[in-house]
Symmetry: C2
Subunit: 413 residues, 2 copies
């Protein structure tokens, strides 16, 4: 689709990055739980963080770091304890983590960004982290992306990773990313995390603008259960090691880079939705004909997030009424008589009225897209047109199954 090709290597596909993931012992399960991404040179750094007013120490830490300085060398991520709602001790723990890693790497603590995922209200097990930091540094490798991707997940069923390559000024430029997330899981296992590396040279403000827009078109357009985590973080580094000309303003090359950045983010975002708690299928909602992109995306997100639409998809029910209902309550005015709804290739609703359609075939379409969504590429596509405007927008979600309730209602004293 875009002017790029998929390559291997995740966050280490871009030039000048190493990564590692180890089992430090932070997770009770004994699974990998400490990840590190290192840029060999100073990288321009941009971030998008949770909008929640209850947030983790690492989120405040990163926001402050990036406000003071638009560059970074390393991202350290622990899984197991979210270090959210942990008060002033949580802040101290975050600062100590950065100091320890800086010392081990021989760089300034200001060049370090932090992320945590795990149980809200639990501090990072600092004794274990102190022992883990030298080990994760020792494990750094140019092929370490998969290990890092495996060490940031919590109850995810699969790791999420992608890398793309394009050409700028006759030289290859690469963007890679890893992510985690499948809802907020008991007991408070939270968080959407995504780390993106790029070897282009980009001006800091431009890079942040690109990332903000890419986040709106990807991570901010997915919904598993409508709950925003205390720890959500998207961090993107651009270290200039591709030796391509610096991109300092919007133009053809900046657009190409942003399109590839958006594609990386969308791939990771869709992988999160596909791995949604209890999900049996990925649901993509495309809205056209709205006044602008924001309005279209708002309608798409409301449909993708509707419990009733999600339940209907789980029940393989081509229920256009719920789709119309969700579109109508999205807070975006439109003429009901202009509403058109398609499910896959089935036209269900047009000019404000339902159409006759083959219900059994439409149900079979939903059934086909189900079963083991996180392993497959199958997608339930809902297309909605609300008028003649030029605004288009997308959102991604998953169905609502018994297993979502089961996963989130499990409780053991």
């Amino acid at each position: 689709m875009g002017d790029w090709r998929e390559i291997t290597g995740g966050v280490t596909a871009a030039r000048g990055y190493r990564a590692a993931g180890i089992t430090a012992g932070l997770k009770p399960s004994g699974l990998p739980d400490l990840a590190l991404i290192l840029s060999d040179a100073d990288a321009i750094a941009a971030g998008v963080f949770t909008t929640s007013h209850v947030k983790a120490a690492c989120v405040d830490y990163c926001r402050q770091r990036l406000q003071a300085k638009h560059s970074a060398r390393a991202i350290l991520c622990n899984a197991g304890q979210a270090n959210a709602a942990t008060g002033s001790q949580g802040v101290k723990d975050a600062l100590e983590s950065a100091d320890l890693l800086a010392k081990e790497l021989g760089i300034s603590p200001e060049a370090i960004l932090l992320a945590s995922t795990g149980v809200i209200g639990q501090r990072i097990k600092m004794d274990i982290l102190r022992g883990g930091i030298p080990k994760v540094v020792a494990a750094l490798s140019e092929t370490g992306s998969d290990a890092a991707a495996g060490a940031i997940i919590t109850t995810d069923l699969v790791t999420k990773s992608i890398a793309l390559e394009t050409t700028i000024g006759d030289r290859p430029v690469r963007i890679g990313g890893i992510a985690k997330g499948s809802g907020m899981i008991h007991p408070n296992m939270a968080t959407m995390l995504a780390f993106v590396t790029c070897d282009a040279a980009v001006a800091p403000t431009l890079w942040q603008q690109m990332l903000t827009r890419a986040a709106d078109r990807s991570f901010n357009s997915i919904t598993v259960d409508g709950d925003t985590s205390t720890n959500d973080s998207l961090i993107a580094l651009a270290n200039g090691q591709s030796r391509t000309p610096a991109i300092t303003e919007m133009g053809a090359e900046a657009e190409r880079l942003e399109a590839m950045l958006t594609a990386v983010c969308q791939h990771l975002a869709k992988a999160i939705a596909r791995d949604g708690e209890g999900a049996t299928c990925l649901v993509e909602v495309q809205v056209t004909g709205a006044q602008d992109e924001t309005a279209a995306r708002q309608i798409a997100k409301t449909i993708a997030g509707s419990s009733l639409v999600k339940s209907a998809i789980f029940g393989r029910d081509p229920n256009w009424g719920r789709i119309a209902g969700a579109a109508g309550r999205a807070g975006v005015p439109f003429e009901q008589d202009n509403l058109q709804i398609k499910l896959g290739d089935f036209l269900l609703f047009e000019n404000g009225q339902p159409l006759p359609f083959d219900k059994a075939a439409a149900s079979a379409y939903l059934k086909k897209a189900a079963s083991g969504a996180y392993l497959k590429e199958d997608t339930v596509l809902i297309s909605v047109s609300v008028g003649n405007g030029h605004g288009t927008g997308q959102a991604w979600g998953c169905d609502l199954s018994y297993d979502y309730v089961k996963i989130n209602a499990e409780y053991t004293t």
Copy 2:
């Protein structure tokens, strides 16, 4: 609590009202499906309707009627077909229904308000309705409230009804109400409906203002699944048959009337939440310390509507992290360090940090409030303080159970 007492009689408790509910044959189930409420004299009429941009013909009809004229004599409600997304034919059907009833009652069609609930996209079965109208008029009675309450429900497990009485100017004044709703149910059985009757004499604009505020503090503060119906309607009549002095401006008597109106609406709203699809308990969220009532209610609604909080309650898990998370993402700024969370009498979180508490006892508290919520008065109470402001607000919801998914995922071709 308030300056009133509970009486029997529902919408016929207030003086000068009759009601009826019959089986016209609109519902395939053969259960009652046509209700009528009649005021013997012209009544001041106010209404609050769905904010959805996809809405039923009866909603547009009532909005237009009430805009042109602030009074009415009758409310006709059919259950079975929602007459939403039915295009211009749906509008014609609504107008014909009003004309037929007006003829039968010997009054102007402009004095008639309409409501529908049932399957979206289905027209009212007009042949059946034409036969039903004379029957429902013949069935009108001063003790007909229960019959009317039974004829407006769809998949509700119980009918919802209340009547309160107070004194204004040494004479009794009564407000009664009936309601239906338990989510939007397959196949698109939708709608929250509430009809309120009052025998006080109130100025039209004042009555509408009172109803709008009461709706914000009741029906607009409940959430079962976050989905707004195409047909949601709250209609309140005030016919002056109590022969009490006319209330034309705010003051002590207006405040007492509004408080009682709010109490009626809250009773019905809580009854709807308690009867939420698959619910095992009613959840009440009280927020204090916010900047204003709107901010407090926004936080309360976000907590009550969180799938994760709802799942945790179903799992009897005293999960303060999810409550904190939902409070944080409500879009209302507050200082995390001021956050306090209580579950029943258990203080779980204070000064931005979790407290030690008896988890087994807190879980037992949740367990006690469960099991057959719609039959009981038990409530799970979540109290949240976010600061030192004077804003307080409430919201009501229910837990998220396997049965919610089951009810909404059922699909038969």
